[in-house]
Amino acid sequence: GESVGLHLPTLSVQEGDNSIINCAYSNSASDYFIWYKQESGKGPQFIIDIRSNMDKRQGQRVTVLLNKTVKHLSLQIAATQPGDSAVYFCAENESAGDYKLSFGAGTTVTVRA
């Protein structure tokens, strides 16, 4: 399953399939990006980050891709599991030492059994 365009509020994906969550950021000067996962009733949790001098970074079952030309960030989740159901946020730091982290609107991912 994939969210397309600037942002799609919800994404429904079959268990075992790959998920792609997209995010468009606004500031071309942004230097550092983070993906967060927020489960129901909990606070946002760090998933993976990437700096602007990279275009891809991999973690456990997750990959973040950064396209600075079009100011686009994506999170790919491999073999989506029920525990991946959550709201996913991208966040940008205008510069690596900046205190302020600005969040996108969030995408709700629902995993179908």
Partner: protein, 114 residues
Amino acid sequence: DTAVSQTPKYLVTQMGNDKSIKCEQNLGHDTMYWYKQDSKKFLKIMFSYNNKELIINETVPNRFSPKSPDKAHLNLHINSLELGDSAVYFCASSQVRSSGNTIYFGEGSWLTVV
């Protein structure tokens, strides 16, 4: 061994009351934050303190007053509560580095004003 803890988790109160939310972090971070999450899940920064000094103060009504007695604590006091203040408030902390600023969040405080 909760990293960022905030209390209370749930708070229901009447309009016009004054309430406080407390936050503590045991990560040794220098910077702490308050974020507000509305009903559409949008997260917006309210305040940030670095070593007890206010460094970010977004457009927030002055009914909201943060207080940082030391760098491990950042409390949020809200005067004259209004219906529109109903939201989830997240405390967070980070150690800002040249490599980036990863913020760690608490579990949230659900405020309902009736």
